[in-house]
Amino acid sequence: MSATTPLVEVENLRKHYPIGGGLFGRARAWVRAVDGVSFAIQAGETLGLVGESGCGKTTLGRLMLRLIEPSGGDIRFEGRSLLGLRPRELRGLRRRMQIIFQDPYGSLNPRMRVGSIIGEGLAIHRLGGRDERHQRVQELIDLVGLPPDAARRYPHEFSGGQRQRVGIARALAVEPRFVVADEAVSALDVSIQAQIINLLQELRERLGLTMLFIAHDLRVVEHVSHRVAIMYLGHIVEMGPSEEIYRNPRHPYTRALLSAVPIPDPRRAARRTALAGDVPSPVNPPSGCTFHPRCPSAEAVCRSMRPPLETGRRDHAVACHVFPAEKP
């Protein structure tokens, strides 16, 4: 890792949701959606965040923008903690951090014209006069490859892929440095998905964006990410440079995930690492390593002690007793 300050950094970040107890009652239990996550993203880097439903990846993405309040830990943007900021300061900083959502149908206001949707951030942050904003919206429409008359039209007039372009233009309008893409291409058909992936990659290079790319599709994540983090039940279980993780996965969960991806080659018989059962409830996670009940390699120690995420050779970090990181 370089000696410069990373653009975004999270340290022992936690989000625990209370369940039960009603409005004034005491919580009966806690869901540990994110449970002690630390990592840094360097400027210009894309970190892919992979995991199955309920692993906490979306919560983590929102915590990083402080769209939800963490229960503990810290988030630093350009070296400054987001948690100590006053609302006004936070609002100023929000310009630098944006999010692209999964659902291109649900995340755009159906009663607003596309031009107003894209320009809303500019208006809120009072960037430029009316004419300048108008011009900027037109530039953005062009940048993301929407038809020139898009500004006057409504979201329902566009297909899913086109709407995702609107969502991207909206996020980029305020010239952010950091973008969280939360399953931004998951709802799209393959041919359209490829268009949007290419667009994101182009824009990332052209604008020097730093990204957290959240997705469940390992193929897409490999394609766009410089580094990858694998999440399971609120923890990061493995993290490292994309090539390293995909070529040399160490954690049994990562290996099972990779082996479960169907390969479009009928001659390659599936060689899967079968996992027993479903993901356990995060309300009552298993003791020790939370993956041990499903792990084909679990040993006695895995039931009693949680393995820490340790970084070894080639920047490859693993949280596993049985397959620990290779010593540097």
């Binding site: 058909d189 041919s191 359209i192 490829a194 193929r219 490999e222 169907p262 390969i263 009928p266 079968a274």
Partner: protein, 326 residues
């Protein structure tokens, strides 16, 4: 042995005086124990094809042409009553959203037992016992206890297992699986696909597997049909089609997919959008997105013809087998 034969199937939807053929001239056959992968993007007509086979298309949609023979029996000639008797033992179907396909206020055991009772003519107790047996067969642990659960107590993968249990309760000749794993996580998807494979082999069911994932097709199917704008544009043995995709659309689909370990700088996206079914271009529906299109592509809809032995494509830019003997 051919179990299901579909010929010239067409299903149309009407809207504001306009007509769209969501399915237009679809033909294929399915043999016992075989899996045909029906592949395409949203709106290409693959789900409407499935509903048409089940005779479950809702107005304003309507089957307007074609024949569907199940073991020689013409389905469109049957009365609604006869057809109802055939759904289950003849054709059964599972859907993409297992959570929403189950009744939330009934125990899963009762829902399966109901399916058993409708077709099996057995008593309540026997049907319940059969339901428990079926839950065990689809790999649900402690089936006796789980049979008393409600759908919300189960995960998505478990719900899909319940749907599968219900679908196989009458030992169908043909199972139609419409994106059965799309809503599931990748490790759960793998389990469900393995289960479907095991059941298919045990019961010698024919399976029509509808999916948008070419990886799933490669793992599961013997034959594959690629659909675009209501028509099958390529059809053949799975090895043939994957080794040598002929239609420009199929080729483009392969190129636009990110693959594991095959990192490239850029994906080759297919430009443009899927055409509006109410305003299809003349001739080949893919021509305005096709890198190989020529003027003649606008003249007529290209027929699906054999280009290589056992491998059909609907494209005038690919030479016919007759003119190009191997």
């Amino acid at each position: 042995m051919t179990v299901l034969e579909v010929r010239g199937l067409a299903t149309a939807f009407e809207r504001n005086g306009g007509t769209a053929r969501a399915v237009d001239g679809v033909s294929f056959t399915l043999d016992a124990g075989q899996v045909l992968g029906l592949v395409g993007e949203s709106g290409c007509g693959k789900s409407v094809t499935a509903l048409s086979l089940m005779r479950l298309v809702q107005p304003p949609g309507r089957v307007v042409a074609g024949e569907v023979r199940l073991e020689g029996q013409e389905l469109f000639a049957l009365s609604e009553r006869e057809m109802r008797r055939l759904r289950g033992p003849g054709l059964a179907m599972i859907f993409q959203e297992p959570m929403t396909s189950l009744n939330p206020v009934l125990r899963i055991g009762s829902q399966i037992a109901e399916a058993v009772r409708v077709h099996g003519g057995v008593g309540r107790r026997a049907a319940w016992n059969r339901a428990v047996e079926l839950l065990g067969e689809v790999g649900i642990a402690e089936p006796k206890t789980r049979a008393r659960d409600y759908p919300h107590q189960l995960s998505g993968g478990m719900c899909q297992r319940v749907m599968i249990a219900m679908a196989i309760s009458c030992a169908p000749r043909v199972l139609i699986a419409d994106e059965p794993t799309t809503a599931l996580d990748v490790t759960i998807q793998a389990e469900i696909l393995d289960l479907l494979r095991a059941l298919r082999e045990r019961h010698r069911m024919a399976v029509l597997l509808i999916t948008h994932d070419l990886g799933v097709v490669a793992e599961q199917a013997n034959a594959v049909a690629i659909m675009y704008a209501g028509r099958i544009v390529e059809y053949g043995d799975v090895f043939e089609v994957f080794d040598r995709p002929l239609h420009p659309y199929t080729q483009a689909l392969f190129r636009s997919m990110p693959s594991l370990g095959g990192r490239r700088e850029r994906l080759e996206a297919i430009g443009g959008q899927v055409p509006d079914p109410f305003h299809l271009p003349s001739g080949c529906a893919f021509r305005d997105r096709c890198p190989q299109a020529i003027a003649a592509c606008a003249d007529a809809v290209p027929p699906l013809v054999e280009k290589v032995a056992g491998h059909r494509a609907a494209c005038i830019r690919v030479e016919d087998a007759a003119r190009n003997p191997a």
